[in-house]
């Protein structure tokens, strides 16, 4: 049976992991290579790196980091942040990424999804959607790191992105992100039920029950989390053992 995936997310700025982590066992918790190796050994199913550097030099640094990580971490690696052309996609794949996540650039120019899928295969094109609840119901897509409303309906955008060639959806609730109040289950379910590709729930994880709800009630295929793992509130293993106790299939 296909297992549900647990995916830690690392925000990287100028080559350093930000949102400070506090691992006791690490020499340098800001080093993305060391942190990635740590999560690999802990049993993470995949890793996501979001490059929050906005400069070309920063992106070059990111490619170097991915290169170093892929030499010793043998699980799938997704890289996002600032990917705006198919050449950017190629650079990251060449560096050793298995997938790239595309957010703002796909809204501005949806053809990047179809061209990317055609050149490299749908399996490596992840559409990242940042969505915010509307007062009257539904969710609106935001771009530019959640700053800019687009007037686009998130569920419809997810469907369109899949049609264009995205092979997976990384769905972040802006309302929940960073608040540790739980994922937006309704959003997750609304998208997951309407698309044929896997959905990664993101934003809001504060407890192991939250992971469980996103997978069971939200029908997500995977859960992404940052703080609950970075601050050692829970280990990956604890999270997986809890999910297994709730009859959710996981890789242990």
């Amino acid at each position: 049976m296909l297992t549900k995936r647990i995916i830690p997310c690392l925000d990287v700025k100028n080559g350093r992991v930000v949102k400070g982590t506090s691992f006791k066992g690490l020499r340098d918790a800001g080093d993305p290579v060391e942190l990635a190796s740590y999560y690999y050994k802990e049993g993470s199913d995949e890793l996501v790196f979001l490059d929050i550097t906005a400069t070309p030099e920063g992106r070059k640094t990111m490619a170097d980091i991915v290169e170093r990580i892929s030499e010793k971490v043998f699980i799938p690696l997704t890289v996002g942040g600032g990917i705006s052309t198919t050449d950017d996609v190629q650079k990251m794949l060449r560096a050793g990424a298995d997938k790239v996540s595309i957010n703002t650039a796909a809204v501005v120019n949806p053809r990047i999804l179809s061209e990317g899928a055609e050149r490299f295969g749908s399996q490596c094109i992840v559409i990242a959607i940042d969505a915010k609840r509307l007062p009257g119901g539904g969710w609106q897509v935001y771009t530019h790191s959640g700053q800019k409303p687009t007037g686009i309906d998130a569920v419809k955008w997810a469907q369109k992105a899949v049609k264009l060639g995205a092979g997976e959806i990384l769905l972040t609730s802006i309302d929940a992100d960073g608040h540790r109040v739980g994922y937006d289950i309704e959003l997750t379910r609304a998208v997951s039920e309407t698309v044929s590709v896997p959905v990664i729930a993101s934003g809001g994880a504060g407890s192991l029950e939250d992971l469980c709800k996103a997978l069971l009630d939200g029908k997500a295929d995977a859960v992404l989390a940052a703080s609950i793992f970075h601050y050692e509130q829970f280990t990956i293993r604890q999270a997986k053992e809890f999910l297994r106790s709730q009859n959710i299939p996981v890789r242990l």
């Binding site: 296909l2 297992t3 995936r5 690999y40 043998f74 699980i75 799938p76 298995d98 490299f120 896997p198």
Partner: protein
């Protein structure tokens, strides 16, 4: 010498990295003459099977692969590198493949999330040295929308459930092929490549 075929499509870096981590020094090449000189050959693959076959044909690699396999040299096909060994694939209509293993490649039925993406168990239906040190039903990482249906059930060594059971691993004579990605499957994936290297050395 171990050659990894780089026909220009997917990201093969992770395959190269995995073999390097095991101490091998693979030659990465798209030249048939290099492949024909190799003692051991790995065919990685992501993307579409039809496009891959076309690209292998255009570069003269299809013949080289058939020759290497006929010669009895150890060969490992990964993901699309497994699928192209069959007679044909439903992907992109009905495309002809290399026809080294009789059978076809078909799409997962509607109603399942496609691609199947993530970790799933490989049931070892036949003992084989490639499984040395790997427990039955160990998890491996899959990303695919199509799967192989070989005519001869004897070549199937691994089975995985997705909607229904499908062939996730093939091994016979000198040919080994996996629908999953050992290079993305953590320690057991690396163990499988290590076993392959040992087999290739005749151990």
């Amino acid at each position: 010498m171990l050659a990894i075929i780089d026909y220009g499509a997917g990201n093969i870096r992770s395959v190269v990295n995995a073999f390097r981590a095991l101490g091998a020094e693979p030659l990465v090449s798209n030249r048939p003459q290099d492949i024909l000189k190799a003692t051991t050959v790995v065919l990685p693959g992501v993307g579409a099977a039809g496009a891959t076959v076309k690209s292998l044909n255009e570069q003269g690699l299809s013949e080289a692969i058939s020759r290497v396999i006929e010669d009895g040299r150890p060969f490992f096909g990964i993901c699309i590198g497994l699928q192209v060994l069959l007679d044909s694939t439903e992907e992109g209509g009905d495309e002809k493949c290399l026809g080294i293993i009789h059978g076809k490649v078909v799409k997962f039925p509607a109603g399942l999330k496609v691609p199947q993406m993530g970790w799933n168990q490989v049931k070892q239906v036949k003992p084989h040295k490639i499984f040395n040190g790997i427990p039955d039903n160990a998890n491996f990482y899959f990303v695919h929308s199509y799967y192989a249906v070989p005519d001869d059930p004897d070549v199937v060594t691994g089975i995985t459930e997705y909607g229904k059971p499908f062939c996730s691993m093939i091994a016979y004579d000198n040919v080994i092929a996996a629908q999953f990605h050992p290079e993305k499957s953590g320690e057991y994936g690396l163990k499988m490549y290590a076993n392959f290297l040992k087999l290739a050395k005749g151990a």
